[in-house]
Amino acid sequence: MTEENAWVLQAQQGNDDAFTQLVETYQKPVYNLCYRMLGEPETAEDAAQETFLRAYQNLHRYDSSRSFGTWILSIAAHYCIDRLRKKKFSVFSMDVEDEDGTPFEVADPASPDPEVESVKKEDRARLHLMLKDLDATDRAAVVMRYWYDYSEVEIANSLKLTVSAVKSRLHRSRRALAGMWQEEKSRAHPERRSRESLAF
């Protein structure tokens, strides 16, 4: 039995300290999923806390043959999807926060190539903003695929979808993101776009 399974078992028997260990272990993945889904650090914190509370209340339902990580991320994803559907419009605040949930800063001059690092950071922030235009379930699938390296089967199990539906959602999301990216670039560099169009 792994240490994690032991914590789950103890938590199921009412040991709150064991559950705290699980919170400690999974706070980052759960928070990250909520943040990618909801966009705002405060909302993500609230959703992550609520996810752990739901897991705590439904711990007796957890099937130990399944990974605890997958189970809790599945709870988080469903919670965020429900929240987005209720809210309809999600508001992002990327102008004041960067993707780590910390105040936005310019690239660290001590890093090997601050300019490249800065561009990468900007690209990640831009993509994070674009996520909000995806459908809630598509967004969950993208986050699970690219932030957690989940296979299509794992995503299907977590989101209660078929594998082919997951595949189609991932492709649709990638196409949508590429479209938005292209549009954003052409807005940022219109002169380059006119030159490119001549080349066609």
Partner: protein, 174 residues
């Protein structure tokens, strides 16, 4: 512009031959959409985990404690309302009897005795009727009909058990 098969390769991360790679590179030079697909793919593949503010676990513990207190308070209020409601209903139901009790003990004693006699006679009558039915029915039903009847009951019992099991079975990812 025709993006096939390049779009499929990029979306599926398919392994490509050197020749296909050359074709893809040529296509990427002229296709802004496929270039965007490559760029977004790179950004997604180097995505970083967001971290919660320090003290997340402590905040969770505080929230859990708050939730537990709220839950206890909710249960307590529920119980108080249940008891109060029950008392109101009970006093409504037994009010007339209590009134007659206070008016004249002889009336309520006769009412209770009347009820007891009624319940007793009804039970005896049902028992007698049951005995008569049980002694008469076997003569009317052939053994085959009994077999069908018992099988039907067994089937319904099984269906009931399976329904209960399916209802009680817990789904994952609540």
């Amino acid at each position: 512009m025709n993006h096939l098969p390049f779009e499929e390769w990029l979306l599926n991360n398919s392994p490509v031959t050197p020749e296909q790679q050359r074709d893809l590179d040529l296509h990427l030079r002229t296709c802004a959409y496929c270039s965007a697909l490559v760029e977004t793919g790179k950004v997604l593949n180097t995505a970083k985990m967001a971290t919660p503010a320090p003290g997340f676990t402590m905040r969770f513990q505080a929230r859990l404690a708050e939730r537990k207190v709220a839950e206890r308070r909710r249960k307590l209020w529920g119980m108080i309302l249940f008891i109060l409601g029950g008392m109101v209903l009970l006093s409504w139901a037994v009010g007339p009897y209590l009134a007659s009790f206070f008016a004249s003990p002889a009336t309520w004693i006769s009412v209770i005795v009347g009820w007891l006699v009624y319940i007793g006679t009804t039970l005896f009558a049902l028992l007698d009727a049951g005995v008569v039915i049980l002694s008469v029915i076997p003569n009317f039903l052939p053994p085959f009909a009994w077999l069908v009847l018992l099988s039907t009951f067994a089937g319904m019992g099984l269906l009931w058990s399976v329904s209960i099991w399916r209802f009680v079975r817990v789904p994952q990812g609540v």
